[in-house]
């Protein structure tokens, strides 16, 4: 029976991630990255230390030199990354890249790429979105069949880590019309390939994303990830995994915001008493705490569902994305409101959390998108 508590291995991963990230990352590091104008959007030493800890290989099977840990274990790192606002290629490479290859790669692709992911030698990015609001059913980028393989043309936007990744996983249409479920194929493309132009966009969470223009970009048959025209299922799985890990990150953000707000309520005095002694604030804090607790249960359930290859994983992912988005919205808004003026200043850290939260909420579908999906999966 799947327990909704961590097992020993998972707890160990969590504890070490907490220890390491609390020391090493934190809002101050993100502030440094932002203020230095670092085009990567993350601190290279932090990423190097993550590599030293073996994190890129958490989801990579042991036969490909990874640690072969569970999605639950990976989720603990994502949650801690949310709490510490740690920015790195971990999500795009160690979650999305590793999952894509493990799930859909052939033996040759696995052998070629997975050990490099595990070793931190290669970073990945998932290039799927073509609109500012996620819509996985809408793929216009085409991959036309040529004598030598395929020729890809189109544009992808808001590609996380797209400006720095070595390899791109590109969703392109090999048949059907713009909104057909079938006819999508995935390709592994080196970001340095001829015909790729990448434009960096600054985002409010200080993590740049890329708009990637593909013009007659060549791909061999060997670069196709999974069966021709059948990439939709892989993509759906990837998006499920992506969203579950985003909920873990959002949970971390909510939890950390709440922790800081609670401390402030106990510390800040007005009218001669701590503002946390005012019952109206107490009740709001209590309600927020409850929402975060509920969110926590959903996150671990969804992570367990990934590990169990539960047929309801997509439904659970949508359900908990809804919950995590709403909770993060409440937690970050209450954090600013309860901190009062100080929370509005850039010198204070809470702004970094609310900015990151909204971007993570919107990535791969916000609460409205997933509410709709949940209803669809539920048959109404």
């Amino acid at each position: 029976m799947m327990k909704l508590v961590l097992d020993n291995e998972e707890r160990m991963v969590r504890d070490s991630a907490e220890l390491f990230l609390t020391d090493t990352a934190g809002p101050s590091l993100l502030r440094e990255v932002r203020d230095s104008g670092n085009p990567l959007g993350y601190a290279e030493p932090l990423w190097q230390q993550m590599i030293d800890l073996g994190w890129p290989g958490i989801l990579v099977p042991e036969e490909f030199d990874g640690l072969g840990f569970s999605q639950v274990a990976m989720g603990q790192i994502m949650e801690q990354a949310g709490m510490s606002l740690a920015s790195s290629p971990l999500f795009s490479t160690a979650v999305l890249g590793a999952t894509a290859l493990t799930f859909a790669g052939n033996q040759q692709q696995k052998t070629e790429f997975l050990p490099k992911i595990a070793a931190g030698d290669l970073t990945f990015a998932l290039a799927v979105d073509e609109t500012a609001r996620h819509n996985a059913d809408h793929i216009r980028t085409v991959a036309n069949k040529t004598d030598q393989g395929y020729s890809l043309t189109g544009s992808k936007c808001f590609v996380v880590n797209g400006q720095s990744a070595d390899m791109l996983i590109v969703a392109a249409r090999t048949s059907g019309s713009d909104t057909d479920k079938n006819g999508i194929s995935l390709f592994i493309i080196a970001s340095e390939s001829a015909g790729i132009e990448s434009v960096t966009t600054s985002m409010m969470d200080s993590r740049p994303v890329a708009t990637i223009h593909l013009k007659n970009v060549h791909a061999d048959e060997s670069q196709r990830l999974g069966a021709l025209d059948q990439g939709g299922a892989t993509l759906a799985h990837l998006l499920t995994v992506a969203n579950v890990h985003l909920t873990a990150e959002l949970l971390g953000i909510s939890g950390e915001c709440f922790k800081r707000t609670l401390a402030y309520l106990k510390d800040r005095k007005q009218f001669g008493v701590a503002i946390g002694s005012f019952q109206a604030l107490q009740h709001r804090a209590a309600l927020l705490w409850v929402e975060i607790e509920l969110c926590k249960s959903g996150v671990i359930k969804a992570l367990r569902a990934l590990d169990a290859e539960d047929k309801d994983a997509a439904l659970l992912a949508s359900a908990i994305k809804v919950k995590a988005c709403k909770t993060a919205e409440l937690a970050t808004n209450e954090a600013i409101q309860m901190h009062g003026g100080i929370g509005m200043t850039d010198a204070f850290d809470v702004g970094f959390f609310i900015k990151r939260a909204r971007v993570a909420q919107m990535l791969f579908g916000d609460c409205r998108y997933h509410l709709n999906k949940f209803a669809e999966y539920s048959g109404y």
């Binding site: 909704l4 609670l262 106990k266 009740h283 705490w289 509920l294 919950k323 509410l371 109404y380």
Partner: protein, 384 residues
């Protein structure tokens, strides 16, 4: 200890053979089996089902076998729960004996009290009610005034209780009384047990806005209570009261519920219909999905809290589960009114309106939502 798979298999087989067909369906309101001296079974099947489960101790699966319980581990109890749900089995017995005073006796009662009361609860022979609130002691429960005068080997109790659930149908009451008038508010309270047929006990049902009368006002005039019927120490009843309130919260929060219900989503499809595979009312569709997600989150949280808990009580977490569970149930009832429209507002016995009205009490009884928020803020979050 038997292994999980074998236990599951054996349980499944036994249920298949012993759960009457008519007990395998969603339980309509009013068909709960409560047991007790005067209980009218709705059918032979209901009686047989209660008795068969009681024989195995499965009306109280985790209680020790020496008091008639099932003696199951938490893990096996969960398997039993799942297997019962799988065949939509009705709860064989639902009573305040099982959910409230039984656990309290197991924790705080003398061996004599356990022997006297627990087996009768498991068998469904004795139905209990709770004497807690008073007209001027609601949220401020510790302000209670019913007093018990010490007469050597017994007490004489005088006072008035309110919101005593089915006091008019119960056989025994567990009751909070003040045994020391001079000590501080939370001291000097004792938990006593007495038979409802004791002279001086009278109960008057309170008609609710839902048209039902699950609660009573109960008057206690010179009621004799033996001293051996005090649970725990005299004057130390407040900590037992708090323990019981926790159990009550768990019960009202729907945490121990073994009754499966049709989902709101399914009822929405019935009431509103689909159009191109989507609920025909798009606004309701969003609300239903939102509710189902929150409901799922609450269920998963109950499961997680149980998985994390090392004791049978969920402690302060029950405040969260009670708070959220009752607010969810109120939202559910509002949604069902919206789904079914004026049909749901007819005033007949089986009307959805009655359940809707009754649900409004969920966030009041067993400690209001405001009290739960106070508990969370103070005990869990440490806000002073």
């Amino acid at each position: 200890m038997q292994d999980d798979t074998a236990f599951r298999q054996e349980t499944r087989t036994w249920l298949a053979a012993n759960c009457p067909a008519s007990m395998r369906s969603y339980m309509p309101v009013g068909e709960t089996c409560s047991g007790g001296r005067h209980f009218q079974f709705i059918s032979d099947d209901q009686k047989v089902w209660m008795q068969r489960m009681a024989e195995r101790g499965w009306t109280a699966p985790t209680w020790p076998t020496e008091y008639g319980g099932g003696g199951l581990t938490k893990q096996h109890a969960k398997i039993l729960h799942d297997e019962l749900n799988a065949i939509t089995a009705r709860s064989p017995l639902t009573s305040m004996g099982l959910s409230m005073i039984g656990p309290a006796l197991l924790e705080f009662g003398s061996e004599e009290l356990k022997q006297q009361h627990l087996p009768a609860i498991v068998r469904g022979d004795i139905r209990w009610c709770q004497g807690y609130s008073e007209p001027n002691a609601g949220s401020d429960l510790a302000g209670l005034q019913a007093k018990a005068e010490d007469r050597g080997d017994h007490f004489i109790v005088n006072g008035q209780k309110v919101w005593t659930t089915y006091a008019d149908k119960a056989d025994w009451m567990f009751c909070l009384v003040r045994t020391d008038l001079n000590s501080a508010k939370h001291s000097g309270i004792s938990l006593v047990l007495f038979d409802m047929t004791t002279p001086g006990v009278s109960a008057r049902p309170i008609l609710l806005i839902s048209g039902s009368s699950p609660f009573c006002e109960t008057f206690l005039d010179d009621v004799r209570v033996e001293k051996n019927q005090v649970v725990g120490d005299i004057n130390a009843g407040w900590s037992i009261a708090k323990y019981l309130l926790t159990h009550e919260r768990e019960m009202i929060g729907g945490i121990g519920s073994t009754t499966a219900q049709k989902t709101v989503g399914a009822r929405a499809i019935d009431a509103v219909g689909l159009r191109e595979g989507r609920l025909a009312d798009e606004i309701l569709r969003g609300e239903v999905a939102d509710w189902e997600i929150d409901f799922m989150s609450h269920q998963l949280t109950t499961e997680r809290v149980r998985d994390e808990s090392t004791s049978s009580s969920l402690g302060n977490a029950s405040a969260m589960l009670k708070l959220y569970g009752t607010e969810l149930n109120k939202r559910r009832c509002e949604l069902l009114l919206a789904l079914e429209g004026l049909d749901a507002m007819r005033w007949d016995e089986s009307s959805e309106a009655r359940l809707w009205l009754r649900s409004k009490g969920n966030s009041i009884e067993g400690g209001t939502s405001e009290i739960q928020l106070n508990i969370i803020a103070k005990r869990i979050l440490g806000l002073g």
